[in-house]
């Protein structure tokens, strides 16, 4: 008896009526709160901070757009911006490289799992380790690179000490783990390739490059899209390799925006919070342009279906 009364009150309660609508929001609530507090709110805070001059200790002084004006005259800012663009372009090489390694590894040979793990390995180890390994590799006096170059008669190159080579040298180090990442994306994508379509293509006489280009790659579109997004974002937020391998040097030639921001705002000789925030805002806007483009293209695709 008591049970039915209890059940009846529950059934008629407000919570019971709206349960279906409310539950997802309850599950989302912690995530949304954290996202608002740790992501959205600081973005606006940075916007605000970029209008001030502040050393992190004393009183912040409102300077309007002065920080941006100074950015306009700052050579180091342009060096960083230029390097960001180089990163963006060269880092994309990880996508085709990842694709070809994935195609190569997508075979049934004994021990293929071991080969796959070996190729994936650089993505698992820390960027700090990758940076150190490549620093030793490039070392102008003791590194293997110059030993190898020397054996074919090329004079030694100081990759990390030369302003023309340093950014490319770091990107090459960054491509090692990034290629592994793209490879794993494509390997999972290749699992989803429809065997019947391949069969049909074969019957129509497609093989080799034509098979790859017209049958396989179109089916890998979702994987390519994700690889593109992670590579672009990865290129724009490159920081740890630069910090480990060159510390921004020689004389600031390998800085990118995120590293320059860290340098002026948080490093040993920095503590110009407002100026750092202004750089962060610029970087944010660049990223926003890319992300908006991606969202737009997803939206277009979904609508087309």
């Amino acid at each position: 008896m008591a049970y039915t009364i209890d059940a009846q009150t529950r059934r008629s309660s407000w919570w019971h009526k709206n349960q279906q609508q409310l539950t997802p929001w309850l599950f989302l609530a912690p995530g949304i709160l954290f996202f608002l507090f740790y992501v959205i709110f600081p973005i606006f805070q940075s916007f605000n901070l970029s209008l001030y001059e502040w050393d992190g200790l004393g009183q912040a002084e409102f300077v309007g757009l002065y920080n941006y004006e100074e950015l306009y005259w700052d050579d180091a800012f342009y060096t960083s911006l230029k390097n960001n663009v180089i990163w963006l372009l060269l880092y994309l090489a990880a996508i085709p490289a990842g694709l070809f390694i994935a195609l190569f590894l997508n075979q049934t040979v004994t021990g293929i799992r071991l080969y796959k793990s070996l190729f994936f390995f650089p993505f698992v180890i820390s960027q700090v380790v990758v940076g150190l390994v490549f620093t030793w590799f490039y070392d102008p006096t003791f590194g293997i690179l110059n030993v190898l170059l020397g054996s074919v008669g090329i004079p030694p190159i100081n990759v990390l000490g030369d302003e023309d080579y340093v950014t490319i040298g770091i990107i090459v180090a960054g491509l090692w783990p990034q290629t592994a990442y793209c490879m794993i994306l494509y390997l999972t994508g290749l699992n989803a390739v429809d065997p019947e379509q391949i069969e049909a293509g074969r019957l129509d006489g497609a093989k080799g490059w034509r098979m790859l280009w017209y049958i396989i790659i179109p089916q890998l579109r979702p994987a390519t899209f994700i690889a593109f997004v992670v590579t672009i974002i990865g290129a724009l937020r490159s920081f740890d390799l630069i910090s480990i391998m060159t510390n921004g040097g020689p004389f600031g030639a390998s800085r990118v925006l995120s590293f320059y921001m860290f340098e002026v705002a948080l490093s040993e000789y920095g503590f110009r919070m407002g100026y750092g925030a202004a750089i962060a805002v610029v970087l944010f806007l660049i990223m926003l342009a890319f992300i908006a483009y991606f969202l737009w293209s997803i939206y277009k695709e979904e609508k087309a279906r």
Binding site: L57, N158, G249, P250, F251, E268, Y269, G270, F271, R272
Partner: protein, 420 residues
Amino acid sequence: MRSMLKTSAAALAILATATSGAFADGLTGDLKIFLDTSNPAPRATMEKMIADFQAQNPDLNIETTVIDREAYKTQIRNFLTANAPDVNTWYAANRMRPYVAAGLFEDVSDLWEGTEIGENLASTKGAMTIDGKQWGVPYTYYQWGVYYRKDIFDELGLTEPATWAEEKANCQKIIDAGKKCYTIGTKFLWTAGGWFDYLNMRTNGFDFHMDLLTGKEKWDSEKVRATFANWRELIDMGAFIDNHQTYSWQEALPFMVKGDAAAYLMGNFAVAPLRDAGLSDDQLDFYQFVEITPGVEKAEDAPTDTFHIPANATNKENAREFLKYVVSADVQTWINDGKNLGQLPVNAKSSVDKDKFLEQGFEMLSTNSPGGVAQFFDRDAPAEMAKVAMEGMQEFMVKPDNLDKILARLDRSAKRIYDN
């Protein structure tokens, strides 16, 4: 018999200070200490020193926190504002200015009154003074100078140089023998600042150097150009190791250890790793940076590490007693000896450890630096200026032809940094 009398007298004296410490000033309450001495040897020294202070004040509740030296440089900004300890370590001169300006360090001028600290620590008083007040006490300092391979000098028949001409003549002979004169690693920039400090202080003198670093002189001036011209003579000779921009100062040590480079302009902290790498005291020696412009009084770099009381500390009286204890002659003698910090004591009544380099350094600083004692480039200049300038010096060492561009850039930065 005489020696026995002496020992017992010394023992009595120690007993007297120990007892007076334990009974007269037995402190009570709390004392929270933050240290940046995170390397194993200095850390052990500091902990032992604090343990002794604890033993003298059994009722005092001491809490010590050791923070990684690099992390400390950013954390200090947080803990001085919120959750301040009672005592913290830091560096002298301009490096403490931001905290003094923000009102985060306690004015301890009262400690410096009277002879006990005021006279015995007179040599470092200037480094602790901003706006006519003292903001902390030093606990150690060390000399800079040229550390060189004596065996290589002997082999080539060279002697310690005293003038710029001799320096260059020596260097030429070393280069002719297929070696480099100086090793240096400028990856983290400050090592280049050391060279500039010496070249500029020897070319233009201490006062000009300080005026330049505090924004009273322009970088694009004839005097600064003269300094860079002297530097360029060495660069054009090929005196420095190749590819120095890729190495940290530690990574530049092997060149000297292996004998590919003959000398290193460095602080005394370089001696320990050089000895650890297998160089004996017969192979390693030290000389004061040579005279360049005759008549310019010699000045030296001797960076000073310090203790401060945060303005937000809760137990300032206990903290003051601790600072007095740290700078006292006996404590200074033993924390700076070769088995501990291996540096120079700041108290004139202390004795310097019987170490070849410490003795030479102490003598140089006390008798042969009439020009003055500088802290170091990045401690005398404001942090931002130091960063831009040292980056320019690194660029100059690799591409000396860019000098005009570099100097123009420095003046532009100086205008912004000093006008604020």
